[in-house]
């Protein structure tokens, strides 16, 4: 491969994965261009994490191919950084030691590691916490360290699995802006899993909507908002329009995930019946 060409291209083609009898993902094709920010959105259990884990190298496809820079993925590697939904910092390592971990695995010397980790931590505004243990940090800070740790080894691709799902709205916003800053600075490819529509729009260049299990790609939408993104953009007409379309697509799938198409029509009716029943019980 030509070293001058941009790296970090992800190609998922006809990807399918079965866990024994259950088909988690049936046929997913998507791609992320070098330096692109792409989100995956869909109802719970549709296989978003499964796709991400396959790109990370934790799962081997039972159908189709998963390629990163034209090479089939064979096991995890520091080329593909990952941020998990659950906090995954090593509790026995300080913030700085957590960030140094990947560099240590690469065989980088102690002083060089320290310097690199310090630089990264101060970029993320965490320099004051370098000697803290994860237990002493708030949820937002833990996830911030998680992102810095994943970026420390200079991966081509960053994979994030609902990283901000457990954070409050305010912290979430700050984290999204930080993530965009880091992404723009490092020019790496990002594949981001979320179930938050606004988050997907605010962050992404493109968004894939995944159907209810077994997952397939239902739609692919391009976000027309300019870069750099700013918080005020959520009030623009483009944003509103996109949000409306996504809401509709996801609503269909969420209802399908909970039952079937019939439930989609009778859902409201069932709600009214329930209200009647509760009213009757009160009498």
């Amino acid at each position: 491969m030509n070293s001058a060409s941009p790296r970090g291209r992800i190609d998922v083609a006809g990807f399918g994965l079965r866990f024994g009898q259950t088909t988690a993902v049936s046929d997913i094709s998507l791609h992320v261009k070098p330096g692109e920010f792409v989100s995956l959105i869909g109802p719970s259990g549709c296989g978003k994490s499964t796709v991400l884990n396959a790109v990370a190298g934790f799962l081997t496809p039972t159908a189709g191919r998963v390629l990163v820079d034209s090479e089939p993925v064979r096991g995890p590697s520091a080329d593909r950084g990952m941020v998990f939904q659950q906090y995954s910092l090593f509790p026995w390592k300080t913030v700085r030691e957590n960030v140094e971990f990947g560099l240590k695995m690469q065989g980088m010397g102690k002083s060089e590691r320290l310097a690199t980790a310090r630089t990264l931590l101060s970029v993320a505004g965490l320099h004051a916490f370098e000697n803290h243990y994860p237990e002493q940090l708030s949820g937002g800070m833990k996830q911030r360290v998680g992102i810095v740790r994943a970026l420390a080894t200079g991966p081509r691709v960053l994979l994030l699995d609902e990283p901000f799902g457990a954070l409050d709205a305010q912290t979430r916003m700050i984290m999204q802006e930080l993530l965009l800053d880091l992404w723009e600075g490092l020019k790496i490819s990002v594949l981001f899993v979320t179930h938050d529509i606004d988050e997907a729009i605010f962050l992404s260049d493109r968004i894939y909507v995944v159907t209810a299990a077994p997952g397939r790609i239902k739609a692919e939408l391009t976000v027309p908002l300019p870069r750099p993104r700013a918080a005020g953009m959520s009030e623009t007409a483009d944003f509103h329009h996109l949000r409306g379309r996504l809401l509709e697509l996801i609503r269909e799938e969420s209802l399908r995930a909970m039952g079937n198409e019939v439930a989609a029509q009778s859902g409201r009716r069932a709600g009214l019946d329930l209200a009647d029943a509760i009213g009757a019980a009160r009498l």
Partner: protein, 289 residues
């Protein structure tokens, strides 16, 4: 058992006294002292009871006729501690514990880690261990004497057996509780199998390892003393039993007290080491517990 430490009374939190409230401060200080004072009082009462029962040679089904008085024990202690033979007995016991316990740790912890990581090894070994484990180490005394060429080795082996299973099984249990996301995170960061063991699995199971070490140390002492009493030459267990045979009753109590002190000291040592190697585990309290 040296590893059973019962905390009597939770530490009393200082009530928020207004500044300069002298009486409140005194009250808090007194409340703080109440726990330790009560404990000391009970110990003093027990000593007093011992003294009275033995001085007046009480006998009511339980016979205190031959039980030595505290004073006679103290006298024999002052004699024993200037006797090189006695120190040698203590030293020998400590050496046996040290050897057996360290061997059990050196074998039990890595085996627990690998059995926890590789199912095949666990499936192969665990049933065998489950069969052997319920046999108390003391029951191994005759077999051990037959197996090992020297008495010394057979006693160390008994000590090893006693501590091996608690250490192994606690490590294995800890492995079952390691959050798999930590292993995945490490692999994503480029960690290979050896690094995963050293950097992730071992620190993750350290709390359970130290639980295993504390329990193992207790069982090691029980096994050692029994083995020394049955098969020993030298050692504090042997000393205690000899004292009975030679009708030197104060030495029995001296031996008992020494065994208790050594057990207490060794489990305190384990807690201290645990405190030192797990700095992340002492964020809230900041003191070994």
């Amino acid at each position: 058992m040296p590893d059973m430490v019962i905390e009597i009374g939770a530490p009393v939190a200082a009530p928020l006294a207004p500044a300069g409230s002298h009486r409140a401060a005194v009250r808090t200080a007194l409340l703080r002292l109440r726990g330790p004072a009560l404990g000391l009082l009970t110990i003093a009462l027990a000593l007093l009871a011992w003294d009275l029962l033995t001085t007046y040679r009480v006998s009511f089904h339980i016979r205190f006729l031959n039980v030595p008085t505290p004073a006679s024990v103290l006298a024999s202690a002052s004699h024993a501690f200037s006797d090189p033979d006695f120190s040698y007995n203590l030293l020998i016991s400590c050496r046996r514990i040290g050897t057996g316990f360290l061997a059990a740790t050196a074998l039990g912890v890595p085996l627990g880690l690998t059995m926890g990581r590789w199912r095949l090894l666990r499936d192969a070994l665990l049933p065998l261990f489950e069969i052997v484990r319920p046999i108390p180490a003391i029951a191994w005394v005759p077999m051990s004497i037959m197996l090992w060429p020297s008495n010394e080795e057979s006693i160390v082996f008994i000590t090893f057996l006693g501590s091996f299973f608690p250490i192994l099984l606690n490590t294995l249990m800890g492995m079952g509780q390691v959050d798999p996301v930590l292993v995945r995170a490490a692999r994503c960061l480029g960690a290979k199998e050896v690094s995963i063991f050293r950097e992730v699995l071992l620190p993750a199971v350290l709390p359970q390892v130290f639980t295993g070490l504390a329990v193992g140390m207790g069982v090691a002492w029980v096994s050692l003393i029994a083995a020394e009493m049955i098969a020993g030459q030298f050692g504090i267990g042997y000393f205690t039993w000899e004292a009975y045979s030679l009708v030197q009753y104060p030495d029995i109590v001296l031996g008992m007290v020494c065994i208790g002190a050594l057990g207490l000291g060794s489990s305190a040592l384990i807690r201290l080491v645990g405190w030192l190697v797990m700095p992340w585990g002492r964020l809230a309290g900041g003191r070994p517990k």
